[in-house]
């Protein structure tokens, strides 16, 4: 009986964390290049119950539920045409490389600008990486970027965008400010065809309807767990107050 109380509590805790993650997805429904997180549950340690007198196994009981892992859903977000030559979108599992003070970071957010020294940077002012380092677009009247990420300035090949790809979303970890890092032990995929689109931005892949449905499910699951706690409480109350009572 007491066990039921704690099991239901673990369920409520998980639903609360799920709600936090869902809220983060929703808060970023309009964030450029955002990838939504999905929650995977895990059953916490099975325990074997023994019959007290016969010393026989009765069966297993789970110790509740925890969040196993959050997975990145790398499906493509909607493409938005901006017509701005400093905006880039890159397909599928491919990402741009940015040199930040914390080291190299990867991003799907291609809303870039040119800084006062003529370098291509993010909105924060961190350098977008080309084939050999920062990309200098100084004294360039016009430039365009083709599908493979090659940058042409005044019709001459100037540089190419450094683009990396991963095999699955699991290899990436979100660290905020639209940056990703590689998870420990993961590697970049080789020879992945890339498709860079200039003048487009990738929206977030958060789907409002799916998140609303999840939100309802979370609230109801939370409520159901709460009812279990209430009922356990009532049963306990009976045990404490009524069993053994001389009427």
């Amino acid at each position: 009986m007491i066990n039921g109380l704690y099991l239901a509590t673990s369920g409520m805790n998980v639903e609360q964390k799920r709600m936090d993650i869902l809220s983060n997805n929703l808060a970023n429904i309009n964030s450029t290049g955002f990838k939504k997180e999905k929650v995977v549950f895990e059953v916490y340690k099975d325990r074997t119950f023994l019959h007290l007198l016969k010393n026989q196994e009765i069966g297993n009981i789970t110790g509740g539920v925890v969040i196993g892992q959050t997975l990145l859903d790398m499906s493509e977000g909607s493409l938005k045409q901006t017509g701005n030559p400093m905006d880039f979108a890159v397909s599928g599992m491919s990402l741009f490389v940015i040199d930040t003070p914390d080291g190299l970071r990867y991003t799907k957010n291609g809303a870039f600008k040119i800084d006062e020294d003529g370098y291509l940077t993010t909105q924060e002012g961190y350098y977008v990486q080309g084939s050999v380092g920062n990309i200098l677009l100084n004294d360039v009247d016009s430039f365009y970027v083709d599908e493979s990420g090659d940058i042409y300035a005044d019709d001459n090949l100037l540089d190419s965008l450094n683009i990396v790809s991963v095999e699955e979303g699991n290899h990436l970890l979100m660290v905020g400010n639209s940056y990703f890092v590689l998870r420990e032990g993961a590697d970049f995929a080789e020879d992945v065809p890339v498709n860079v689109m200039q003048g487009y931005l990738e929206g977030s892949n958060v789907n409002g309807i799916a998140e609303m449905v999840d939100m309802i499910a979370i609230t109801r699951a939370y409520e159901a767990n709460l009812r279990v706690i209430k009922m356990s409480d009532e049963v306990l109350a009976k045990a404490v107050n009524q069993v053994g009572k001389i009427v």
């Binding site: 639903e15 709600m19 809220s23 955002f34 925890v66 979100m174 400010n177």
Partner: protein
């Protein structure tokens, strides 16, 4: 519960988004106005303990990545007024403000003031200054900016000055000030003077450049912003309900 605060960041950002769209729409008929756009990004991630020695990162919401001016060409409107000038291309007119500093604009609705000087609609003097003297029948401004007048008495064509366009290395770095004007910043780089080869743009006399706002695009952005705001408010409501339930656990 973090979700209350996380969803609140989403709502606040969408409020900013609507503010920006409102400013774009309010300036839909402003001559030479350039629209802004806003980008969002995810905020930091926090590690939370999910089990003994196991952590999971939970995102803390969204924040603004940056607001940019978009310098695409606006529509060109035929006004028939010989002192209305539109630029086709990436150039800017330079004007000197009352405080003596230079500012730049795409708004080419000029007029001639009481002293015969070319001034823009708010009275800032064209740089370099051009002054009209005496009476004239007609004023002609060429694609390259050469201003000529047809004299009233002799009916001769006389050149009186030239409009020099400027451009910037990085126009997105310009600072927008009121009155349709921009100021140069470190980010935009200094103004580069036209070298007469027409790469900075051609001047069209009798036309004005309207704003580059696309109503449909703004309306779509507005719908997206409103729905994003709404869905975040739903997350707050759900979190509130969940906390209410927990509160009602022990009556």
């Amino acid at each position: 519960m973090n979700s209350l605060y996380i969803a609140a960041t989403g709502m606040m950002n969408q409020q900013l988004n609507v503010d920006m769209i409102s400013n774009n729409l309010a300036n839909i008929n402003t001559t030479g106005f350039k629209k802004s756009d806003i980008n969002f990004k995810d905020l930091a991630y926090k590690n939370v303990v999910i089990a003994k020695e196991r952590y999971s990162a939970i995102g803390l919401g969204s924040s603004v990545d940056g607001v940019r001016k978009i310098f695409t060409q606006g529509n060109i409107k035929d006004t028939g007024n010989p002192l209305d000038l539109a630029i086709e291309g990436e150039g800017y007119f330079s004007v000197r403000q009352a405080d003596g500093t230079l500012a730049y604009t795409r708004d080419g609705s000029f007029r001639i003031d009481s002293e015969g000087r070319f001034v823009n609609s708010s009275g800032n003097i064209l740089e370099p200054p051009v002054t009209v003297e005496g009476f004239f029948n007609e004023i002609l401004i060429s694609e390259k900016g050469v201003i000529s007048v047809v004299e009233a008495d002799s009916e001769e064509l006389r050149e009186i000055g030239k409009i020099t366009l400027v451009r910037f290395q990085n126009p997105a770095g310009l600072e927008a000030i009121s009155g349709n004007l921009f100021k140069e910043t470190i980010a935009s780089g200094p103004a580069i003077n036209d070298n007469d080869d027409g790469t900075f743009g051609n001047i069209r006399q009798g036309y004005l450049e309207m704003s580059n706002i696309n109503v449909i695009e703004e309306m779509v952005n507005l719908i997206v912003a409103q729905r994003a705001y709404e869905i975040n408010s739903k997350a707050i409501k759900s979190s509130d309900e969940m906390m209410g339930m927990a509160n009602a656990l022990r009556q």
